[in-house]
């Protein structure tokens, strides 16, 4: 078995009466780029800090390559962290920062120097070795923090919102680079962020967290295309949420929306009153009177010009408001308030979620509430 296999079993962390992490079971195989995604307070950072050893779990186990390490102090764990605000040692030079941890490993001076040089070259800070950390830009500091953790060649690297303090442009560059380094070293990366784009672009798998629990854990595409809950649907991208009733029918189900019955290829855990979800980009607007299944008449209520696409809000015949992304590709018509249209909700993209509608109503936030109301 190669190194860097992490297993969390029944992990719980309480602070007094507050439950920060509420029972997490997770297996992260060696060499995976794994992301924990969620809003602040969802327990993702606490989980990371427990893996690093800064917090002791109230219950549960943390296994690295099959060995429980929940009572191993942080300095003895073969796990290293890139901190949110870098936590660089301001009293040392860049090279001293990078070489810091090697002093506690049985490494000869020549070997240490070689490794420091190599890792600094890999993260492209070779020429900064003698600088003081206060003289560096945010991006450079980030690279130092990364190099400092990588030089120890631990099988697992923990990254706590490492790009959070950087501006958008730099963030994109570093995303690509992080992914490159991870693939090159074949190290397990456990990455914590609240930024959905970061999670989707870099990760092999993503766990969406909420209230100390894992809401859904899957590869990025499945998470985006097939969310199980309204929370996940909303956290990744935007979603139209519709209150519906679902009835089992063949491989999929029938979705009852007011007087209309639609087809869906998804199969909910249980039939009955629930929530259906469709991404705005899958909502197709067709000329009034188009025939076929899953088509509902509606009237354009508002059009917002967004550059490369138009955000068109349509009032459906049953009273619900739905959002459609219409690309500005020169072929699509331009809509205006008052246009009558037929709205096509494709069966392949219309998904019935697992959560109950009252739950869904609580969880929806941001732009989702246009659909839930």
């Amino acid at each position: 078995m190669s190194e860097g296999d992490i297993r969390l079993e029944g992990l719980v962390k309480n602070y007094g009466d507050v439950v920060a992490v509420d029972g997490i079971d997770l297996h992260i195989p060696s060499g995976e780029f794994f992301t924990m995604l969620g809003p602040s307070g969802c327990g993702k950072t606490t989980t990371l800090r427990m893996i690093a050893g800064f917090e002791r779990p109230t219950e549960g186990q943390i296994l690295l390559d099959g060995v429980d390490m929940s009572s191993t102090p942080p300095h003895k764990r073969r796990v290293n962290t890139v901190f949110q605000n870098y936590a660089l040692f301001t009293h040392m030079t860049v090279a001293e920062n990078v070489g810091f941890g090697l002093r506690y490993q049985k490494v000869s001076k020549d070997e240490a120097k070689r490794r420091v040089d190599a890792v600094m070259e890999m993260v492209q800070i070779s020429e900064l070795g003698e600088r003081r950390t206060s003289e560096l830009s945010g991006g450079q500091q980030q690279r130092v923090a990364l190099a400092r953790a990588l030089v120890l060649e631990a099988p697992v690297l923990l990254l706590d919102e490492p790009l959070g303090a950087l501006d958008a442009r730099l963030r994109l560059d570093l995303q690509v680079e992080l992914k490159r380094i991870q693939e090159q070293l074949e190290v397990t990366f456990i990455y914590v962020t609240h930024d959905q784009d970061e999670a989707l672009t870099m990760s092999d798998r993503v766990a969406v967290m909420k209230g100390g629990k894992i809401e859904q854990c899957d590869v990025p595409q499945k998470l985006y295309e097939e969310p199980n809950t309204a929370f996940v649907a909303n956290f990744l991208g935007s979603a139209n949420l519709l209150s519906v009733e679902a009835r089992a029918a063949g491989a999929g189900c029938d979705v009852i929306l007011g007087n209309f019955t639609l087809k869906s290829e998804s199969k909910p855990e249980q039939a009955g009153v629930g929530t259906a979800m469709i991404r705005p980009e899958y909502v197709k607007l067709e000329p009034q009177g188009s025939e076929g299944e899953n088509r509902i008449p509606g009237m354009v209520e508002e059009v917002v010009y967004m550059g490369f696409h138009q955000d068109v809000r349509v009032r459906l015949a049953n009273g619900e408001l739905i959002r459609a992304d219409v690309p500005n590709d020169g072929d699509s018509p331009e809509y205006e308030q008052g246009n009558a249209v037929a709205v096509h909700l494709r069966a392949a993209n219309l998904r019935v979620l697992d959560d109950y509608p009252d739950q869904a109503a609580d969880e929806t936030s941001g732009d989702a509430d246009i659909a839930a109301v």
Binding site: P74, N80, T81, G101, Y104, R132, S134, A149
Partner: protein, 310 residues
């Protein structure tokens, strides 16, 4: 630091509606400027005159009378270096300040680090006890130590040892405030980072925490020195006789008595030591925190003492 947009805004407002500036002194910085500079003059001029008198040629302590260094180094038996009593006071003050500095600083640093981390039963009262000396009137403090050393600890008794203990006790709280301020600035992240990179707990303190605390340690050393050398009440209460008199005690005793500028000379020397210590503290603090983005070091050092009524 430069003329801020606000000030320009105030000025434009004034030109537009002079009624306000006439009716209200607060929008008229010129009035405040006057008060401030008069105050500064009032607060410093008496001391400057007392220093000037130390360089008098004549014997007057109330008026300027020529230039000389005779009250410092003169071979007459009245100069600071001619009068054994004055000279002893100076060396005794320096001795107390040096010892207080070397004892209070390490104790205060350990206490500050301990209190910052120690959560749990007893930490609340411990915090209060660590800060209470800052606000206890010096008289109460001195009476307590005086009675302690004349009853329970009469084996130690009054004298130099008691004075050093007294100075350490009140200045330790200042060290705690300074060091904890720095600990908050540094934050817990770097310590976690060091542990994460494999440093065992003692190495974290030694290789990361202490170097990062260095500016606070330097500031503490020199401020304890300054506090000790300026102290009067505790020194007086714990003194055992003429040989344990400090410079402030000499000044106090002779302020209304023997009218010779040698007392001014003694006070001048003491002030020189205090200011040297402070300038050194400022420079060291500034040097060690170079590159860190924070308020000016002057204000840092200023804020250190906002808890002291001495």
């Amino acid at each position: 630091m430069s003329a801020t947009p606000t000030e320009q805004a105030v000025t434009t407002q004034q030109t537009r509606s002079p009624r306000f500036s006439l009716g209200n002194p607060w929008s008229k910085p010129r009035w405040l400027t006057g008060v401030t500079w008069v105050y500064i003059l009032w607060s410093l001029l008496p001391v400057l005159l007392a220093i000037r008198v130390a360089f008098n040629e004549g014997r007057s302590r109330t008026s300027i009378d020529g230039w000389s260094l005779k009250w410092f180094f003169g071979d007459n038996s009245f100069s600071v270096f001619g009068d054994p009593a004055l000279q002893d006071a100076l060396t005794h003050s320096l001795l107390l300040a040096g010892l207080a500095m070397l004892i209070a600083t390490p104790l205060g640093i350990m206490l500050a680090i301990g209190l910052q981390r120690w959560r749990g039963r007893g930490s609340g009262p411990a915090n209060v006890v660590a800060l209470l000396p800052l606000v206890t009137p010096e008289l109460v403090f001195a009476v307590g130590l005086f009675l302690l050393f004349t009853t329970l600890l009469s084996t130690i008794g009054l004298g130099t040892t008691a004075q050093v203990i007294g100075h350490v006790t009140f200045s330790m709280s200042f060290v705690v405030v300074i060091v904890r301020g720095r600990l908050v600035t540094v934050g817990p992240d770097v310590e976690e980072a060091a542990a994460d990179l494999g440093a065992p707990p003692l190495a974290v303190i030694w290789r990361v925490l202490l170097p990062l605390l260095a500016p606070a340690i330097a500031a503490s050393l020199l401020i304890v020195f300054a506090l000790s050398i300026d102290d009067f009440v505790v020194s007086q209460y714990l003194a055992s006789g003429a040989e344990t008199a400090t410079v402030p005690m000499r000044i106090y005793a002779q302020a209304r008595g023997a009218p010779l500028p040698s007392v001014n000379a003694l006070a001048t020397l003491m002030l020189l030591f205090t200011l040297l210590a402070l300038v050194l503290a400022y420079v060291v603090f500034r040097f060690m925190t170079r590159g860190e983005k924070r308020g000016s070091a002057i204000e840092q050092i200023a804020s250190i003492d906002s808890g002291g009524g001495r």
